[in-house]
Amino acid sequence: MMLLVTSGVAPYLAQAESILDVGDTFIVPLLLKLAFVLGIFFVGPLVAGYLEHKAMGRMQHRRGPVEAGPFGTLQLVADGIKFIQKEDLIPSAADKWVFAMAPGVALVPAMLALLVIPFGPGVFALDLELGLFYVLAASSVSVLGVLMGGWSSANKFSLFGGLRAGGQLIAYELPLILAAIAVAVQAGTLSLVGIVEAQAEFMLFGTGINLWYVIPQLLGFGIFFVAALAELSRPPFDMPIGDSELVFGYMTEYSGIKYAMYMLTEYAGMVTMSALMVVLYLGGWQLLPGVPLPGCEAAGGLFDCGVTGTLLGVGVMLGKILLLVFVMVWLRVAYPRLREDQLQRIAWLVMVPLALLNLALVTIAKVVY
């Protein structure tokens, strides 16, 4: 992170329009941005986890957590404290360094991915020109941590979990990127903020109706969503964990804080991927297509919104993210797990051709109009 900020990315800081750029010093906005990203990183997964607990509970005809805090809201905090207290076990046959480093390797990229995601009008740490590509690159590194954990545990179940995770990630990286590229082609930019802007300006061909990309790219959205589920190992693609087959996959031997780090990675990934989908397909922080947020009517309706507009924008964005997280939870509740070979088959025989088709269609449409 230091690397990014201090070196090549520094020039972009100057041109960024983020409201986090207060004052003209360098260090204050930097700290502010760090705090913002870390805040999202630690609170987002908690909220997502709480939503999962509660929604899952209610859908299963039970209540979910109720005791810790009001309505059980502090359950995950309590879990975190428990994880910290637990003994940090390392199997004697394990490769200790790799074993210890693996959760961190998985965790850090998940954190870095949040750097460029805009959470509201002007609320982002960085507006990279390559934002989309950057998020995908960061999330693809996470799998190294999973593989390291799976291999170093010296456990056959962990090994299988790692293998499956590796195979799954390689298989789904391709459709994910292809679907994202289609969006980049349509928007004509790789910047996430730019994509949101492009969505605000996109009109249905020949008419004046503003639409989000989810309508013209419904296929791409579907592919992206499924690929994101697979990339995150969320049910019905949770074979790397597959508790009834592989005990707990690559996490079998982990306990205490390291296990918590893996879990944090998963939930942070859910938040990141949902945020990415909102930005790419669901119009970012816009409330409705073609309707600027109150307070944002000036300046093209995306920036310079004032306090109310900004807060509203952040609220809309978070609401959309939680909606997508809820859908992920919903799928987890409703479906059994697929088999690894079925997943590969879907990836290579269905998803990749469809993603290519989608890309081709979008490119043709882009060229024609």
């Binding site: 690397l3 990014l4 201090t6 070196s7 090549g8 990315v9 020039p11 046959a93 490769d95 790799v98 990279l128 020109e129 390559l130 590509f133 950057y134 995908l136 690159a137 960061a138 693809s140 590194v141 799998v143 190294l144 593989l147 390291m148 799976g150 291999w151 170093s152 010296a154 090994l159 790692g162 293998l163 590796g166 195979g167 990630l169 390689i170 990286e173 990127i177 790789l190």
Partner: protein, 205 residues
């Protein structure tokens, strides 16, 4: 020396260190991990040279895919978990090749760019990159993609053929496998083979 130079040196050292550990590591898996570090370091080098796009491509393709594929392959084979000596017994040759390459490359680079003045690095914009690839260099690009496709198909074909067709006879070197099989099972298998009952496929169907 500017801060920029410091970062560049640090990243360069990280890359070089990763590379050294890759070749000296006694554990195959560690070597693969250090290799991933090296690849990541190279991405860092690109970044310090303001080639963001290249850096990200480096991460997606090499760290996210190639290194993962490496480890994937190692896990599928019998990569030893834990400490186990690993020796290709080609050290002299490898060192000679690596050393020669280093000398040749550094001579070339220093000879070609050594006298250029240090300037503020400004990488190319992606637009320029795209235009360059798809306008000026479109032919090499297409040729390269064809090559890669051919390699891909070739790999699949080779992999399939290597394991042979059902019923084919191959000459292989016998390896000792009997320690985990009881002799009776072997006899049974042999009897099944000699009676010509075919492969296991029929039994399972």
């Amino acid at each position: 020396m500017t801060g920029h130079d410091l970062v560049f040196v640090a990243v360069g050292l990280l890359t070089a260190g990763g590379a050294v550990f890759t070749v000296t590591s006694k554990n195959l898996m560690h070597a693969a991990l250090f290799f991933a570090v090296t690849l990541g370091g190279i991405a860092g080098v690109f970044l310090t040279l303001a080639a963001d796009f290249l850096a990200l491509v480096q991460i997606v393709v090499y760290v996210g895919a190639v290194a993962v594929l490496f480890m994937f392959g190692l896990m599928l084979t019998r990569a030893p978990i834990g400490r186990e000596a690993l020796d290709g017994q080609n050290r002299g040759l490898a060192m000679a090749v690596a050393g020669g390459l280093f000398v040749v490359l550094s001579t070339l680079v220093i000879g070609a760019f050594g006298d250029l003045p240090t300037a503020e690095v400004t990488g190319p914009r992606i637009d320029d990159l795209g235009i360059a690839i798809f306008a000026d260099w479109v032919l090499p690009f297409e040729v390269l993609s064809m090559l890669l496709l051919a390699a891909l198909i070739g790999a699949i074909v080779l992999a399939r053929r290597e394991s042979g067709e059902s019923g084919e006879e191959l000459t292989v070197t016998r390896i000792e496998m009997a320690q985990d099989r009881d002799p009776e099972a072997l006899e049974r298998e042999q009897a099944a083979l000699t009676s010509g009952s075919g492969g296991t496929g029929e039994e399972h169907a």
